[in-house]
């Protein structure tokens, strides 16, 4: 009973899909990912269908073990070697990313699709400054010369709301607070000018006030840069204040999907209801 998708939901999903198939930025179709072992194979993501429209924030919500991070990483084909995509398509701007060569994927990562991690301390190399690491993105994906990059970096940092950008660019990751680091990581993800940003639990390690700032920042970026964001999180409260549409994941399957206002107002699946209740302060 728990996992069945009721006809209403199906209709709603089908309607959404039909509507957005024309202009979908990213669409995951029947995505199935397994983790193989010598002893047994386990399905992490089971026939996932997802549509992300341009200039919208889609939230992927679920508990730990639901497969949401796995899904996010699989879009950029950054899964650890033990995990395999056994079925499905990842269509980005009309092309199936799963069929891309390594060279082509490199052109996508950082340039067309950016990734923001949960723990910025791990994502940044501690021996290089923030500015240097952002410059690496520019060097890899654009033809700008050093002088131009040098000018662009403070602009980029200011865009993500970092004051005193020049000083921050010359700092090392461990010298910044968690909130600043998270912003710096977003700056790095945006350096290539992507159309889609995948944010994996971007605020889990942050304090409440920093979290509020980052949410504000996401909203800003979506409007100013016409960005689409795939927000992976277990915090339905944040989703309620930020996302346009939401997909709820449980055990690798989508149990509910749709426009955020509709889902929050009228959650059809028991899991969604549980999550909502947990969010009440």
């Amino acid at each position: 009973m728990g996992n069945c998708v009721c006809p209403d939901n199906l209709r709603r999903m089908a309607k959404d899909q039909l509507f957005s198939m024309k202009e979908s930025l990213l669409s995951l179709r029947n995505l199935t990912i397994t983790v193989g072992d010598f002893y047994f194979e386990r399905i992490l993501v089971d026939g996932l269908n997802l549509e992300i429209s341009p200039e919208s924030i889609m939230a992927l919500v679920g508990g730990s073990g639901s497969g949401k991070t796995t899904t996010g990483l699989s879009i950029l084909r950054l899964l650890p070697p033990a995990l395999r995509v056994v079925r499905g398509e990842i269509i980005f701007n009309g092309h199936d990313l799963l069929k891309y060569s390594a060279e082509k994927m490199r052109g996508i990562r950082g340039k067309e699709i950016g990734l923001v991690f949960q723990e910025p301390l791990n994502a940044f190399n501690p021996v290089f400054t923030i500015g240097y690491q952002i410059a690496e993105v520019f060097k890899a994906h654009t033809d700008l010369v050093s002088q131009q990059i040098f000018e662009k970096i403070p602009q980029l940092l200011e865009q993500v709301g970092i004051q005193d950008a020049r000083r921050i660019a010359q700092s090392y990751p461990h010298q910044l607070s968690g909130g600043l680091r998270q912003r710096a990581m977003m700056a790095q993800a945006l350096a290539g000018g992507p159309q889609l940003l995948i944010a994996d639990e971007p605020t889990s390690n942050l304090d409440v006030t920093s979290q509020a700032h980052i949410i504000e920042l996401f909203r800003q970026l979506k409007e100013e840069l016409k960005l689409s964001i795939l927000l992976i999180t277990h915090d339905l409260g944040m989703v309620a204040h930020l996302a346009d549409s939401v997909a709820v994941l449980s055990n690798g399957k989508v149990v509910e999907q749709g426009d955020i206002k509709e889902v929050l107002a009228d959650p059809k699946h028991s899991y969604t209801r549980e999550l909502l209740e947990a969010m009440v302060v």
Partner: protein
């Protein structure tokens, strides 16, 4: 579905077993140690058994065909003659043939120093001598001496390493856990030891030890000297690991329970350095073996008539002898084999245990 609960250590061991070279090396090491323990039985002769008539006799060929027919393995007798250059030549006398005996009675020995016996795996009847790997200057069987030598060389490696390991863990553990003044003092001590060039310290300590020591005492003296100079580098690394390990939350939890410092270090911190320590241990055994060989080679280690691989090689220090009796280099092969095997095992252990050095977080 696996029902058995495996500790991380056991999982790593499982991985280890999948590496063929490492497994092979483990088997070889095992065979060498078994050979050393059973040296009395496996060797045709005692290490002292000499016969000057067979000085530098080349390795005896074993024949399986008698007049074209398959027969029990046998050897021919040899006769020592000198050619026109006064070089030794052993003429094979085909008229005398001596069959090889399995489980023959030979020289007396005391197994493990207690049980007397005369049984040897292979032997032959007098007056022929069976030299599997040739003879040395006094006609002693090299193969037998290599087996007896294995006892010394291999055990020194093991015992010496365990001693310096123990010292290194204690010193490193204390320095890392307490920090501050304790750390300072202990690390300066380590540096003092590391500063002196190893081989010279070895020689100096050896000469400080009395001349009148019996062989057994020399043996222990060598072990102690070798471990004395090598504990310092292990201690430094263990100290570094302990410095970071003591910040882990389970250490804090143990403190909150109220465990004494000693218990915390021994139960919670040092075991986590084990993965590093074990492969460091494996990789330093060769150093001990070579250290002992070096000492014995120059005459400061195990003395004649006792055998050790190093002292067997002292015979091979002359190029003339190597040219005319190349089999005296066999001990070097065994040293080489042992060293390579320990290195392979150590490398593979490190690869398997490496993930344990870092903490794990799961992807969801």
């Amino acid at each position: 579905m696996k029902n058995q609960s495996l500790s991380e250590f056991q999982i790593a061991l499982g991985n280890f077993k999948k590496n063929r070279w490492a497994l092979l090396s483990v088997y070889i090491i095992f065979i060498l140690y078994v050979g050393a323990i059973l040296a009395d039985f496996l060797s045709p002769y005692s290490y002292k058994n000499e016969d000057r008539k067979f000085s530098y006799c080349p390795p005896t060929k074993i024949h399986f065909l008698k007049e074209g027919k398959l027969s029990w393995p046998f050897i021919y007798g040899v006769q020592l003659t000198f050619d026109e250059y006064h070089k030794r030549v052993y003429k094979i006398n085909e008229k005398e043939n001596y069959p090889l005996h399995l489980f023959s009675r030979g020289d007396e020995y005391k197994f493990l120093g207690i049980i007397p016996g005369r049984l040897h795996l292979i032997g032959t009847s007098q007056p022929a001598r069976f030299y599997l790997l040739g003879a040395d200057s006094r006609g002693r069987d090299l193969f037998s001496r290599i087996l007896y030598g294995a006892r010394v060389s291999l055990s020194i490696g093991l015992i010496g390493v365990l001693i310096s390991f123990a010292i290194g863990l204690i010193v490193g553990g204390m320095a890392g856990y307490y920090g501050g003044v304790v750390d300072n003092i202990l690390m300066r001590l380590c540096e003092m030891f590391m500063m002196i060039p190893g081989f010279y310290l070895l020689l100096a300590l050896r000469s400080a030890v009395s001349d009148k020591f019996s062989s057994l005492q020399v043996y222990f003296a060598i072990i102690i000297i070798l471990s004395f100079i090598s504990w310092a580098s292990l201690a430094r690394i263990i100290r570094g690991m302990c410095l970071s390990l003591k910040e882990r939350e389970y250490v804090l939890a143990a403190k909150a329970i109220g465990l004494t410092d000693f218990k915390i270090i021994v139960r919670h911190i040092l075991p986590h350095t084990l993965s590093y320590s074990i492969f460091a241990l494996m990789l330093s055994v060769p150093g001990y073996i070579i250290g002992e060989s070096a000492l014995s080679l120059i005459g400061l280690g195990i003395q004649d008539p006792y055998a050790s691989w190093g002292n067997l090689l002292s015979d091979a220090m002359s190029i003339v002898r190597i040219k005319f009796a190349p089999w005296i280099l066999w001990p070097a092969f065994f040293i080489f084999l042992t060293v390579v095997c320990f290195n392979v095992v150590g490398d593979c252990l490190r690869d398997c245990l490496d993930p344990l050095l870092k903490s794990e977080k799961k992807i969801s």
